[in-house]
């Protein structure tokens, strides 16, 4: 068993629901106990969808377990077909449904429905949401596109005189900014003269999936969802797929070069015609104070790796921590962590992430909804870069993360929680202002100027996470303690730790003002 306070991912059948809900003309019959319909509100409330997810649950109860739960499943599947008349159906079981071993696939086959029925077998006690989505999409693509596969070894020939086309793979329901990423990348590909054959799963029908083989190549927007399906399409249809995820200006430019190459078109028009404001905003002198800001990054691997690149190369931050909850993508994070010389953190244990943030004392956290809890408790500015997210990260306005407009959105979003430059200077100079106090929230965030309880962040966190052992036996002299408080609030935690470490390493037992400045000199710009 694993003690879990918050979980980064839902169970795998929620991933399957994200595929079914994103698509049209597909229905999902899920063998699940009463209560599992809670998942509907992820879509109707968080994503604010205006219709019920196309999911029929058997919602068996204890009294049904004595009877024929298999019959219950067959009735549910038959009724769902009659009522919703889908083009195709997926069937499967939730975690409890899988324990009673009714074999939804076999039962559905016995019904002889006149549509393709795809069984998705999701090991609920081993795998999680993204894996469930990837597996479901893969099984659907196999089942629906498979019949039109060419004989093995058939070379791919492009029809002369036709514009190059691609499939746009990976966007789902409940995906972080998937809606606007698809719009942004579709427009970008359009400027390159590339047509979209099918965008899937979001917006596609089963009939559309059957046409996937018609495209010249595939664009994989979210490898977590579409990586497996794209590999299969490459193997069976000989379609190459893109490896660059266009989040950030550099990545978008690399992406343009990559897809232009696959499509055999000239990348120059797209590279020249449109660009992002991020590079200029980031170069303008107002951004100088962003240099070296210490940032901790956590999320799904795709967004975390992209964020680290943007933070380091495009905004001039210093990446002090990088991690993911997606064990399947640990390799990507480990490789990226090498670039920034940080220890990769691969865990789905919220408490471990919290302990790491408390230890690193970053000035900005880029993470998921869960990191917002952590950052709030520790009094650290935070921006959301990855699912899981809550309702406010399914905004009404256009808010992509990908492409050139995505980079604009990212610049604004990440800089916003930081204290603005002038305020930061003034706070360092004048500490006792009655309104703009030490540790106050940035005044442009407007929630009064009350200091958050962040001066003792580790104490607050100790309720759930054991306090990291003090690095130092040295005690703080009163004068030094006073001097420490003259250091701006958001870097004070780091200064305290550095000084203690310095004292420890140099055998200092009482920390004086001198020790503080010795440590400061020692760690200066290291």
């Amino acid at each position: 068993m694993q003690l879990t306070v918050w979980t980064y991912e839902g169970p795998p059948h929620v991933g399957a629901m994200r595929i079914a809900t994103g698509m049209q003309g597909l229905h999902y019959v899920l063998h699940a106990p009463q209560g599992d319909t809670y998942a509907d509100l992820l879509f109707t409330m968080i994503e604010r969808r205006d219709r019920r997810p196309p999911v029929t649950y058997t919602t068996f109860a204890a009294r049904d377990l004595g009877g024929d739960t298999a019959e219950l499943f067959k009735n549910a599947a038959r009724n769902a077909y009659d009522r919703f008349q889908p083009q195709a159906m997926i069937v499967g079981a939730s975690c409890t449904g899988s324990l009673i071993q009714d074999d939804p696939g076999g039962l559905a086959r016995a019904l002889n429905l006149p549509i393709p029925v795809v069984t998705v077998d999701l090991p609920a006690y081993q795998r999680k949401e993204n894996w469930g989505a990837a597996e479901t999409f893969y099984q659907l693509v196999r089942a629906l596109a498979g019949p039109s596969a060419p004989p093995p070894g058939t070379p791919r020939v492009r029809t002369a005189g036709r514009r190059p086309s691609c499939n746009l793979l990976g966007a789902t329901a409940l995906g972080f900014r998937h809606r606007d990423d698809v719009t942004e990348i579709t427009a970008l590909l359009g400027r390159l003269g590339i047509d979209i054959n099918v965008a899937a799963p979001m917006g596609a029908t089963p009939a559309d999936l059957a046409r996937l083989g018609d495209a010249d190549f595939n664009v994989v927007l979210y490898p977590e969802i579409a990586g497996q399906a794209a590999s299969w399409l490459q193997r069976i249809f000989g379609q190459p797929f893109s490896k660059t995820v266009p989040i950030g200006v550099t990545a978008t430019r690399n992406f343009i070069a990559e897809v232009a190459h696959m499509a055999g078109v000239d990348p120059a028009p797209a590279l020249n015609a449109s660009s992002s404001r991020l590079p200029w905003y980031s170069r303008s002198v107002d951004s100088t104070y962003l240099t070296g800001k210490r940032v901790f990054i956590f999320g799904d691997a795709t967004h975390a790796v992209a964020a680290a690149r943007i933070a380091s190369d495009e905004l001039g931050f210093k990446v002090v921590g990088l991690g993911t909850y997606a064990r399947e993508f640990g390799r990507e994070i480990r490789e990226a962590a090498k670039l920034y010389d940080v220890e990769p953190l691969i865990t789905d244990d919220y408490l471990e992430v919290e302990a790491q943030v408390a230890k690193l004392q970053p000035e900005l956290v880029l993470g998921t909804q869960m990191e917002r809890h952590i950052a709030k408790r520790l009094g650290i500015p935070c921006a959301v870069i990855s699912a899981p997210v809550h309702v406010q990260d399914f905004p009404a306005r256009y808010a992509p993360q990908m492409g050139f407009e995505g980079a604009n959105v990212i610049f604004d979003t990440w800089v916003h929680p930081l204290m603005m430059g002038l305020e930061e200077h003034l706070l360092a100079m004048f500490k006792d202002d009655f309104e703009f106090q030490d540790g106050a929230l940035p005044s442009h965030l407007g929630r009064g100027h009350a200091a958050p309880p962040a001066e003792a962040p580790v104490v607050a966190a100790a309720a759930v996470a054991p306090q990291p052992a003090s690095e130092s036996a040295a005690v703080w002299g009163a004068e030094a303690e006073k001097e420490l408080h003259k250091i701006p609030f958001f870097v004070r935690g780091k200064a305290r730790r550095n000084t203690e470490r310095f004292a420890n390493e140099n055998g200092v037992t009482t920390i004086t003002v001198e020790t503080l400045y010795d440590a400061k000199a020692h760690y200066a710009r290291s």
């Binding site: 068993m1 694993q2 003690l3 879990t4 306070v5 918050w6 979980t7 991912e9 839902g10 169970p11 059948h13 929620v14 106990p33 009463q34 209560g35 599992d36 319909t37 809670y38 998942a39 509907d40 509100l41 992820l42 109707t44 409330m45 604010r48 969808r49 205006d50 219709r51 019920r52 029929t56 649950y57 058997t58 919602t59 068996f60 109860a61 204890a62 049904d64 377990l65 549910a76 009724n79 009522r83 975690c95 409890t96 324990l99 009673i100 090991p123 609920a124 006690y125 081993q126 999680k128 909804q369 917002r372 809890h373 709030k376 408790r377 809550h390 309720a463 759930v464 996470a465 054991p466």
Partner: protein, 429 residues
Amino acid sequence: MTVHIPNCAVSAAAEMTQRPVRRESGQREVFCGLTGIVWLHRKIQDAFFLVVGSRTCAHLIQSAAGVMIFAEPRFATAIMEEKDLAGLTDANDELDRIVTQLIARRPDIRLLFLVGSCPSEVIKLDLSRAALRLSQRLLPGVRVLQYSGSGIETTFTQGEDACLASLVPTLPRARTSEDTLMVVGALADVVEDQFTRMFEALGIGPVRFLPSRDSLSMPGVGPSTKFLLAQPFLADTARALEERGATRIAAPFPLGVDGTTAWLWAAAQAFGISRGVFDAVTQTSRDRAERALSRYRDELGGRSIFLFPDSQLEIPLARFLSRELGMKLAEVGTPYLHREHMAEELRLLPGDVAITEGQDVDLQLDRCRAAKPDIALCGLGLANPLEAEGITTKWSIELVFTPIQGFEQAADLAELFARPLLRRSRLVA
């Protein structure tokens, strides 16, 4: 002002058999009992709820808890993994390890609930033995209890019933031979305080609440205990209290002016309080609540409402909405109908009301569309889709998260139903 006070002493069994109740089975769009943790962990402040279940269970609670998840919660999930399903002895060792880990992290916890889920029930993990074993190890510091909040056994608010029922055997024996009053069901603190003042003014007491705000001050129970249910979903808790000798005071539930008056009057009668004293004590509050409520009568009177099953609050709500606000009832759905506890309510409901116990959500949605109600009470999975179809909705979960009981909240309760209608009429874009 005239308020009809039902004579609660008369059995309603005869009338009950007359009333047709549609019983429906099929897909149910409801929460499981685990959801009760979301409010119970705030009510009992030194309790911790450890769900023994799957990732789905953890995901459910954090989804249901919504933005509250920013606060430090007193609940968590021991997620079962593949290896736990292999053999039961392992699972017990694992549970001991997790509980030890948890208690070390949260030394302030005095009461630990092991909460069963569908997976733990299906593999028949014996949580009652685990609770006994852990209690023996952790007492006197921590008491460990268990109940099931699984979807296969409980619907939404029944999780509270199962939790409170698990507490009853551990309640101290009432020492006094004098009659005491116990109010059963988690209420908002403000409502609890209002009721305390009211009972005190009536001369009824001592009054104790189950659950209390911390585990060390739970009320005693014995043959001298008379209890009043504040919530309609407490069947098992009531039975457990009766097994310990306590007597239930039959009453409608304290929603609206009528409901609250009848609820208090039932207690007053049980404690021999005269009608004169009762009126003298309650009249001011009743008049005030009536005045506050009358504003909503214009807005809601004559409007029709369709209630989907969710919490078992539906029948008392329908009674309040129809009698006190003049709303028309298209259909009243309830996940479970406890005929004895609901007898007083059913007598107050118009005779021709369609009541449905259970659910087949697609068929019920068809009926709702055909009825074209002015407003539908339903869960969050249905609310936005119905709004998109042009049917105004009131999402039902809010009714267990908002103070709605008692005189002072009667108008607030009406407001919850008036607001979506007002909003729909106000928005032009």
